[in-house]
Amino acid sequence: MPVYLDHASTTPVDARVAARMAEVLRSESEFGNPSSMSHDYGDVAGALVEAARGQVAAAVGAVPAEVVWTSGATEADNLAIFGVAQYYRERGRHIVTARTEHKAVLDPCRELERRGWQVSYLVPDQEGLLDPQQVAAALRPDTVLVSLMQVNNEIGVVQNIASVGALCAEHGGAWLHVDAAQSVGKCPVHFPSLGVDLMSLSAHKAYGPKGVGALIVAERGEARGRGRVQLAALQFGGGQERALRAGTLATHQVVGMGLAFELAMRISSVETVRVAQLQHRLWQGLAALGGVQRNGSAARTVPHILNVSFEGVEGESLLAAVRPHVAVSTGSACTSALAEPSYVLRALGRSERLSESSLRFGLGRTTTEADIDAAVAVLTREVHRLRKIAGTAAA
């Protein structure tokens, strides 16, 4: 198999997580419906769900009652955006977000525009960073929601969420939603001190299973003198999760997410430094090629994501050439047979061609120096080869 450098897309399930999930699935006492309160089977499963809720809450500094289980970050984003928009539709119909957000935020915003809401899309600087003052300038009396990601999934830059949180609190009527799918285990995440009202989380980005995530819904709003954020539910049928997300919970999934997040909390600074050193090694190796550009701020980034544009090579050929050897992502969203250039890189001012010839390297717990060296060797060989074919060898 190729060297796996796509941890920003998904991570392998931690063996301890997989083992615990398998235990739950095989158990003769833990298979009950966690909502069943009429027998011990339900109580046992319910206790597992609540323990996992506590683990997830602890990982981000929240309280367990603030955790609403979802099927993943995409559902959490949808619940946050549509939930706020629907609940506060009489107060205002304006939302602030950024052009570089994940599609799970942008597509709901587009849908709300079709339904009559107005959305302001902030443009980051060339390093992918937003100035909180851009948010301040975009806030209007009818703004009900600001939705920004903490760590950008394509370029890894970390936004100044705490400052935006302060601005939203000052505004009074604008709730702050943060997609933190890429944050857990990669950078500090402390829900209350960020001043965030809603936070989307994903298990599979943090060595947990796919198919489970959470929306953290702040309960502490009263302390800031503006009440607590309220959401309109998007699905109905049982009243689970404070009636915000009906449906029987998948016990093994939430148990897996809980353990994955507990393990993520234990990641030492030594491991973070190790990954940062690997990222530096990768960048130094690729930079030696010449004609490469790093996308996103090098100063305000997580060490797990490196996005690089390669001049003088065609994007589809670049990916096809490295694919047998290294598993990476293009900056592109392959929505059809022909790849589209990354809208994130385009928002940073990269040309269409350069956006297409960009690769996102996602480093993780399993990444070794040997992996990095192998990736650098493959990229060096293939970029030289493609530049020779393209007649751009001097690029």
């Binding site: 090579v313 065609e314 050929s317 059809s336 047979a337 022909l338 493609l386 074919i389 393209a390 007649g391």
Partner: protein, 126 residues
């Protein structure tokens, strides 16, 4: 994107093969089409002696299908009489390399580049 075996073979071996590059000399005719800024650019150099293609090279800033077809064409042309058309039709190339229909325009760029080299050579009477 999936590629058939022929495309993979000619794409991955194109640079290693001697037919990626350029030719020089009075008997070399060059033709190019497309635009790197638009995502696809192809160039052919054809060495013509006594009405036959004696050597052929290509350059391509392009997708794997385009690179593979260009490499294959230069290989096929050598030793054969120069004609005012591709050695194989666009439709036949599309089938041979399993080129998706939405990439047909890229094969037409290849044809334009080929003809830009071949037609002047024929007109010149080599």
């Amino acid at each position: 994107m999936n590629y058939n075996e022929l495309t993979r073979r000619y794409f991955t071996s194109a640079a290693g093969a001697a037919n990626a590059g350029q030719l020089r000399g009075a008997d070399v005719f060059r033709g190019a089409a497309g635009d790197r800024e638009q995502g696809t650019w192809v160039q052919f150099d054809l060495q013509i002696r006594s009405g036959k293609v004696t050597a052929a090279r290509f350059l391509a800033f392009a997708c794997p299908h385009t690179v593979a077809v260009s490499a294959w064409l230069t290989e096929q042309a050598v030793g054969n009489p120069l004609r005012s058309s591709l050695p194989e039709s666009v439709q036949a190339l599309q089938e041979r390399f399993a080129v998706p229909v939405e990439k047909t325009g890229r094969l037409l760029i290849i044809e334009d580049a080929w003809l830009a080299a071949a037609v002047p050579a024929i007109d010149y009477g080599v």
